[in-house]
Structures are given as structure tokens and as C-alpha cells.
């Protein structure tokens, strides 16, 4: 029997492992539940009206307090890896995003000029912040923006991932996530309407932003490779339910060279690199493969993504990861429905290797019990050679 690391490596190299590997998608809200730990105190503290009032007065005066949120952020990759190992996953998307500071008790601002709402669930856990708007709407805003913390980001990433890899890397194949992609970091700090106009009227400014973040991403790859992490997540939501947000021609024109440099850098460092884009990405799949990505995720069923079709299109060029639905299957489906969904996914994408099974997304309503059923079903149905019998 292979180890989890060997199993995932085989799938990424489009070989048949001993069985279909599994992939845990970061869900810091559930990790505490899985590990039986109380929520970090930050959430309840921010919800306390008296403390919130003090925070709202003090925080705007504390410039550059990324360290404050980082106290919590540093726990997330550790808990994520521990929870993934406890659940029996072979691999996991492990995030470390030490680039947020509190503007007040309800709002976060990140290194890149994006403003988000603090999200706290009913258990008091702080979850993924919800993007609201941007602060960098012009070249003048960008010039005035303090980039010092951005330049320090790779150093932090290196240290934290080195610790996580040392602790869990023999039992868990780690996909390290430490920054958002070039499209998102270009448009979100200014808003999508402003971005669309800027692409038309201020193309040089947009190109300058893209190059800056391309350089940052390559430095972050170096930081993770030095830490021993075997793979990186490149996440860039280029699409939505109906297809790409920009024309594929414009996507290649703006980001193609950068994407290719990023994957070449990853490969030169001995790393694999996963492309994550939500939405309907059929018209971009071949382009992802052309850009050099080793794997593609999440393949959302609610966006019309079908595993069999994706396998046929690019299964000989990229490993396919995800597709287990989080709108119903991993939220409130029966055990039989979860098992049926896993069986179907393995039947459609498993033959010949090159498939890693996992959720297509994560949110607070995903059920830990159903994630356990998913992992159990993968163990039952995923052994090679695949034999799914009549029930498939």
C-alpha cells in the first residue's frame, strides 16, 4: 500500500496509484470542530460590544498591525493539516494568509488594498473574510500604497510552511496556498467596474500591477519550495456560473505570459502547481494545460462542470481535482447519496489515474459527517484496478 504522499504524487503525474487519493479543501471553520478545539478568542472578542467599541477607537490608530491578525492566521495552516490527517485525507489545500489587518471590529484590509467584512460563524470561528470593495482605484493610489508588508510576506510564508511541512509532510501531501492570483489582485483592489474601464483606458497601469504580483507569486513559490512544500495552489477565479468573466483572448493577452512564468518557476523548483478557478471553465481548460498547470480544481457541478467531459478534454494533460458538490451532497444529503456521488466521480474521472477526489468548495454549512462519508466512500470504491460493478 502506498503512502498518501506517493498516492497523490502518482495521481498528479497521471499514473494509477493504489487507490484514488482524496483532497481536503481548506475549511478553517470546520477544523476546530474536527479537532475538538474551542474557537480562537478573536471572533468572540470582536463580537463583544464593549470590546468592539474600544477596538473601533484604537485600531485605526494602530498602523501596520498585520501582526495582530497573524496571531490567528498562524494557527490556520497547523489546524488545517492536523484536521486533514485526522479525517484520513491524502492531501490538503493548506492556507496561510498573513496579510490582513483589522480596520475596525467588523472590517479587514489586506496587503493588496482589498476591504473585506469579518465573518464569524455561530460557533465564534473566524472564517474566510467576505470581499466588499477596494482602496486602490488609480495609479496615484498604487504609488501611495505602503508595499513594505508585501515585501515581507514571503519570509513569513517560508517559516510557517517549513513548520507545517516538517510536522505533517510525511503523512499529508500539502498544496500550499499563500496568495491570490493575478486577476483577482488586479481587479479586487479597485472594483470590477473600475478594472474593466482601466483595462481600456489605463492598460499600462494594469500591466504594471500584474507584473508586480507575478514577481510576488514567484517569490512565494521560492519560499514554499525552500520550506519543502511539494505543491502550490494558484487560485484565480476567472469564471463564474456562465463562463469566463473576460474573453479568453483578453485573459491570455493580460495574464498568459505571467501564468507561464509562474508554472515554469514552480517546475524549476521541483513543485507541482494546481490551478483553481471557480465557475464554468470549459473554454479555459485547454489554456490552463497550455500554461503548464499540473492540476485543475474545483470543477463546480453548480456551474455545469461534469467530470466525464473534463476528463475527456484535458484528462491526459492535467490531474483533475474536486467536483463533489457542496450545495447539497456535502451539506444535507443522505449517506447513500454521498456514496453514490463518490462512486459516480470515481467512475467518470478515476480510470487510468489522474483524479483526486474532494469537495468542490468549502463554506460554513458543509457537514463534517458528510466529509467523513466522502472519505469512507473513496476508500471503498477507489482501489485500482477500479471495479465499480453494476451499481456504478
Amino acid at each position: 500500500m502506498s503512502s498518501s504522499v506517493e498516492r497523490v504524487r502518482a495521481a498528479l503525474e497521471l499514473r494509477e496509484p493504489d487507490r484514488v487519493p482524496t483532497f481536503d479543501l481548506a475549511n478553517e471553520l470546520l477544523d476546530g470542530v474536527i479537532l475538538g478545539r474551542k474557537p480562537t478568542p478573536m471572533g468572540p472578542l470582536l463580537q463583544n460590544p464593549r470590546i468592539a467599541k474600544v477596538a473601533d477607537r484604537l485600531l485605526p490608530r494602530l498602523d501596520n498591525q498585520f501582526w495582530l491578525v497573524d496571531l490567528t492566521a498562524r494557527q490556520i495552516p497547523v489546524m488545517g493539516a492536523a484536521a486533514a490527517v485526522k479525517m484520513g485525507y491524502d492531501s490538503a489545500w493548506i492556507p496561510y494568509l498573513p496579510f490582513l489587518r483589522l480596520r475596525d471590529s467588523r472590517t479587514l484590509v489586506d496587503l493588496f488594498g482589498r476591504v473585506s467584512d469579518v465573518y464569524i460563524d455561530e460557533r465564534g470561528n473566524i472564517g474566510n473574510p467576505i470581499y466588499r470593495e477596494g482602496l486602490i482605484k488609480s495609479p496615484a493610489d498604487w504609488k501611495a500604497w505602503d508595499k513594505g508588508p508585501i515585501f515581507r510576506h514571503p519570509v513569513k510564508v517560508n517559516k510557517v510552511f517549513a513548520d507545517v511541512q516538517a510536522e505533517y509532510g510525511d503523512r499529508l501531501y500539502i498544496f500550499g496556498f499563500s496568495n491570490y492570483g493575478l486577476f483577482e489582485t488586479a481587479w479586487q483592489p479597485m472594483g470590477f467596474e473600475r478594472f474593466v474601464v482601466a483595462v481600456r483606458r489605463e492598460r499600462d497601469f494594469i500591466r504594471r500591477l500584474i507584473r508586480f504580483y507575478e514577481d510576488l507569486f514567484c517569490e512565494l513559490l521560492e519560499a514554499k519550495a525552500d520550506a519543502g512544500v511539494p505543491a502550490a495552489v494558484y487560485t484565480d477565479d476567472l469564471a463564474y456560473k456562465s463562463g469566463p468573466m473576460l474573453s479568453p483572448r483578453l485573459i491570455d493577452e493580460l495574464f498568459g505570459d505571467s501564468y507561464r512564468r509562474i508554472t515554469e518557476t514552480a517546475h524549476a523548483l521541483g513543485m507541482k502547481i494546481l490551478m483553481h478557478s471557480c465557475g464554468n471553465t470549459y473554454s479555459l481548460l485547454e489554456w490552463f494545460a497550455d500554461c503548464g498547470f499540473d492540476a485543475v480544481h474545483p470543477l463546480e457541478p453548480t456551474a455545469g462542470m461534469e467530470l466525464a467531459k473534463v476528463k475527456e478534454m484535458v484528462g491526459d494533460r492535467m490531474c483533475i481535482i474536486g467536483n463533489i458538490d457542496v450545495s447539497h451532497i456535502l451539506v444535507d444529503a443522505t449517506k447513500e447519496e454521498v456514496f453514490a456521488a463518490v462512486r459516480r466521480a470515481i467512475r467518470e474521472a478515476g480510470p487510468g489515474g489522474g483524479y483526486i477526489l474532494g469537495p468542490d468548495h468549502s463554506h460554513p454549512r458543509v457537514s463534517v459527517e458528510r466529509l467523513r462519508w466522502m472519505v469512507e466512500a473513496a476508500g471503498r470504491y477507489g482501489s485500482y484496478p477500479l471495479d465499480l460493478g453494476e451499481q456504478a
Partner: protein, 210 residues
Amino acid sequence: MGDYPERLTKAIADLELEEIAPLVQEGLDAGETATDLLGGMCIGMSKVGELFEEGEYYLADLVLAGEVMKEGLAVLEPHLEAGSQGQKGTVVLCTVKGDIHDIGKNLVATMLSSSGFKVVDLGVDVPESAIVEAVRTNGATGIGLSVLLTSMVDSISEVVSALNAAGLRDGVKIAIGGACTTPELAEKMGVDAIGRDAVEAVRIFEGFCS
């Protein structure tokens, strides 16, 4: 007077961001009525919708078309008669409570306005009480609810319940849209339609009127 309405149709359809405002001013200076010029621009937005459905244009192009429309309207609006827009009815739009994504909602607002609806855009993270009040105050016959986050879908049923409690549910049609919405969700939540995108939204609300 020339063919300024037709030229504006083409400028919108071709996403001519730099040319739209001077062209509108030229048309006004040439004696064209503001209503005719607006008509030309609205036809242009319809053509943009067709190009989107044909796969020639993408979401960013719809957004850019909205920006082109805004730049033209900035010149035109002072010349428009009050009440010359919104004859097809009033639609209340928002992103539901707990959700703050607005790209899709903004596009729907642009497309509905261009198609002759009066749009009351309540913004994002909107509680059901504000929606009920907006429907009552504006005599709205349609509601569009945008929701991207799966964790916020229950906000839709809260809106339906609030409308029922206020005795307004029978007088409005509700459409939902957003990444996590499905036909099954629409049925479960007791709404009247689900839209894939802003272009389909226009057809849905026009269908509600007929």
C-alpha cells in the same frame, strides 16, 4: 438631423467608451430629442445582450457596456423628461442579507434600466424588512434577489416570508440569481424564477409583465 440614434446604437454595441459622450452631445446639438437618442442607446444595450448570448461578448463586456451607457446618460439625463423611463414597471433589486457581492446585481440593474424598467437598487446585505418597505413604497411588481454565498441562501426564504406577512407576496414576482442558485433552490424557496445571467433577467421580468 441625421442618424444619431443609429450611431449611438452602434457605439454602445461596439463598446465605444471614448466616443459615446461626444456623440450624444453632437446628437443633442443637431436637434435630436433626448428620448430618441435614449432609444438608440437602449437598442444598443439589447444588441450587447444578443452578442453576450451568442458567446461573442463576456461578462466584462456587459459591464463595459454599462459604463459606456452611464457616460452617455450623464450627458443625456438633464434633457430627459421626468417619467420618460421605467414604463415597463418597477423592480426592486438587491443582494440578500449576509451577502455583499454585487457585480451580477449591478449588471441586472443596467440591463433592466436600458430595457425600460424603473430599478430601485437597494445595494448589498439588505434585510428583508428593507425589501418589503421598498416594494410597498415604490409599488414594485418585481423583485430580483442576488445571492452568491451558499451559506446565505436562507435569506431568500426570509424575504418570501416577510412579503407574505406584509400581504404583498401575491402582488410581486420574485426572481433569484447568483452562483449558488439552482432550479431546485428556486422551488424550495418559493420564488417564481431563476436567472442565469443579466440578459436572461430582462426576459424574465418582461415575462412577469405579460
